[in-house]
Symmetry: C2
Subunit: 444 residues, 2 copies
């Protein structure tokens, strides 16, 4: 596989590196020394302060504890010193040179044969013992809509005559989301209540629990350094502002959404909960998985402010994404979850760096810890549909589950688990962990 | 004027009270002892920490300095102790009993003949010497759309066949806004740049400075105490969660908006800047200005979750609102600004308490310091139009300005100043101060 021009590989990406943490070298585990994602964690069942950690194998290295040893110099030391709070915002604010220096220092310290092994071993916490919190304090959360397949499939149900609007191929469409109700994997999700779309166009709305509760398989993008209000982030600089990626489930109440969304967009249909995975996979770790930006030649090409050599050469990422469903019945019967969605971030119509630049083109200021959602990453094939709304064609067609039940939308007790991974020949597998949430009955 | 049933008047609302701060008793000034709004301020040209203050006459009482004197007892003491930071969030989080206790203690301390006068006099800062910052750290900002006249006027331009959508009379329509770009009165506003709506339906968008820059005369609502995720704020409790109101200018780039807003709502058309006034007028101060909720009998009445005796008896507020324009030319000629909009919050179709309850009906959590915008408060008369888009009928008809210029939208150098006041016979006038911003040329 030829290397795309826009990757920035360095010592930390050497596929032959191994770690003294044994399970780091196991491809099944998915947290090799080439990976090193960040989370905020503490030990379960304790009242410890939450603190930053980095995954290595089946362990977490406690960065707050490591910081107290002052083991690094220069930018790595500054970056590590920013890893003592209850969120990653301070680290995010430092910028990509500091993130990279810390990554290199951690890579060297965790390598097989590293002199620091004895010093670091006591700072490891088993992932099985960890409890996670939100990795960052999110000031603003923006949800985009970058799969043209999702936009078309969803659009068909609301506007059969014009599923894809004229702006889609020009504008990376996005809207502001709700920050306060972001939760980390494992939080239960209460079925929302609200005004539901009338059964007939002239009918009155009903009030009650959502009957068309859905998931949306997305990725989250954490912004590292921001920009002052009134300035723009040029497309050539956009990558430097991206701290990393996670999984994101944009839970959606379709019957609330279709009633409320005109003319100002989705609101209560989305704001009851949005679940993310605890691990933020850094942009630097994803460099080996860049792929060129591509778009049909018959489509309008992005306006100049959204294009660069870096976008052209490696604007997209190859990240395999799945959504799995278990139900009360399947768990009781101890049947494995079924895969609802099997897709890839390569289905994007817009590059993530283009989202950063577009978001700031009007002078809007981004801040460290801001979160973007990509929008549902559906592909064109049926198994790539990233929502029940697409799978059931707006509730018209039930999905048969392997254990005998059927679903058009989510029922109480249903659990959705998003997973992601980067896989390519000759390189260790990188896991995104998971973003999981179970539906609890509505409270009236 | 008969007293509506839902007001909660107390000692602090006695119209006969006067203050030992001389200008507090001058109706022209608009900050009487019945008022006592909150801001975050410091003295201009200093590097002092910003801190909470309360307006009285032409002065500000420095609450951080007052807190160090520990002059109050009980809930007033607790509330005052929360007034030492650089935002009002800590005070907001305490709840309405504490806000009310602090208001009563301040009212007593500032009254003519108060024993505390000598102690408080050194803590006054003249408003002419003050610099303001954002009164709260806003976690999430939600913009509503509660004037049916604005919804209809704006709707006509985008959907001439169906200006008012079927959901409008059922759902208090709102959308998530951008928190990071909220600014306080006095900040200049850079003309935004972006993709502009094509001239013809099949045309390509252009890229450049917004040509249809607009203001929107709104009010802001600061949430005090929030609610845990998964719970709702019942309509009977909603008022208790409202800390206070301010002025809000939702600057809007119409040519960006009309290109980007389908299907997910306004985004970059709004996110470059939103200006608020520095003073938050507490809900308690506004009690004497409540007026009954009203709606044409032929319209659907609000669903039960949105109605209460309190809404019925006093759900609306009588707040007089204006927007004024000055230009480079008018200021050079020393001509007074011209009034673009002269309206009132009584044009609302939804009560503010209904917005609180609706926002949380799905379990969405509000947090102290969250901000709502009401949406443009246009009334049915031409002089009540709250945007240039309504005044110029979408840019079709120029407004003649008294000094010889004309305008369809905002030009560089134009300054919009929002003002608000509560006025009724036999009660001192309450001023909202102002929310002002001047347009600077785009930076390309």
């Amino acid at each position: 596989m030829s290397q795309p021009s826009a990757t920035h590989l360095n010592e930390t990406h050497d596929p032959s590196l191994t770690s003294w943490v044994a399970r780091a070298n196991d491809n099944e585990v998915g947290f090799p020394i080439q990976h090193l994602p960040f989370a905020i964690f503490r030990e379960q069942g304790t009242s410890q302060a939450f603190r930053p950690g980095v995954a290595i194998g089946d362990q977490i290295i406690d960065l707050a504890a490591l910081a107290s040893l002052k083991p690094f110099d220069g930018q790595a030391a500054v970056a590590l010193a920013a890893c003592t709070g209850t969120s990653l915002n301070a680290l995010m604010a430092l910028g990509d040179a500091h993130w990279s220096a810390l990554r290199l220092a951690l890579s060297r310290a965790l390598r097989k044969g590293a002199a620091m092994q004895a010093q670091l071993e006591p700072l490891l916490v088993a992932q099985t013992r960890a409890q996670y919190s939100m990795p960052a304090q999110v000031g603003d959360y923006t949800d985009f809509y970058i799969s043209i397949h999702h936009a078309t499939a969803g659009g068909k149900q609301m506007r059969p005559d014009a599923p894809l609007l004229p702006n889609y191929k020009w504008v990376p469409i996005g809207y502001h989301g709700r920050s306060s109700s972001l939760v980390v994997s494992g939080h239960d999700v209460l079925r929302p209540v609200g005004q539901l779309k009338p059964a007939t166009p002239d009918g009155d709305p009903t009030f009650g629990p959502c009957q068309r509760l859905d998931y949306e398989l997305e990725m989250g993008v954490f912004i590292g350094t921001g920009n002052p209000q009134g300035t723009r982030i040029p497309i050539e600089q956009a990558d430097k502002h991206i701290f990393g990626l996670c999984l994101l489930n944009d839970w959606s109440a379709r019957d609330i959404q279709y009633w409320e969304y005109q003319p100002l967009g989705p609101f209560l249909a989305k704001s009851f909960a949005t679940t993310i995975s605890p691990w933020i996979v850094t942009r630097e770790a994803l460099e080996p998985f860049r792929i060129p930006f591509s778009r049909p030649a018959t489509d309008p090409q992005p306006l100049p402010y959204l294009m660069s050599e870096s976008v052209k050469g490696g604007g997209f990422y190859d990240i395999h994404l799945t959504a799995q469903l278990s139900t009360d019945q399947s768990r009781k019967a101890q049947v494995a979850p079924t895969t609802l969605t099997d897709t890839n971030l390569d289905q994007a119509y817009w590059a993530i760096s283009q989202l950063v630049t577009h978001h700031t083109v009007n002078g809007c200021n981004l801040q460290p810890g801001d979160l973007f959602g990509t929008g549902t990453m559906s592909g064109p094939a049926p198994e790539q549909a990233g929502t029940f709304n697409e799978i059931s064609i707006g509730g018209k067609q039930a999905l048969q589950l392997p254990w005998g039940e059927e679903r058009k939308y989510l029922m109480d007790g249903d659990e959705i688990t998003l997973q992601g991974e980067c896989v390519k020949p000759g390189y260790p597998r990188l896991s995104f962990g998971q973003a999981s949430g179970r539906i609890l009955p509505a409270v009236i």
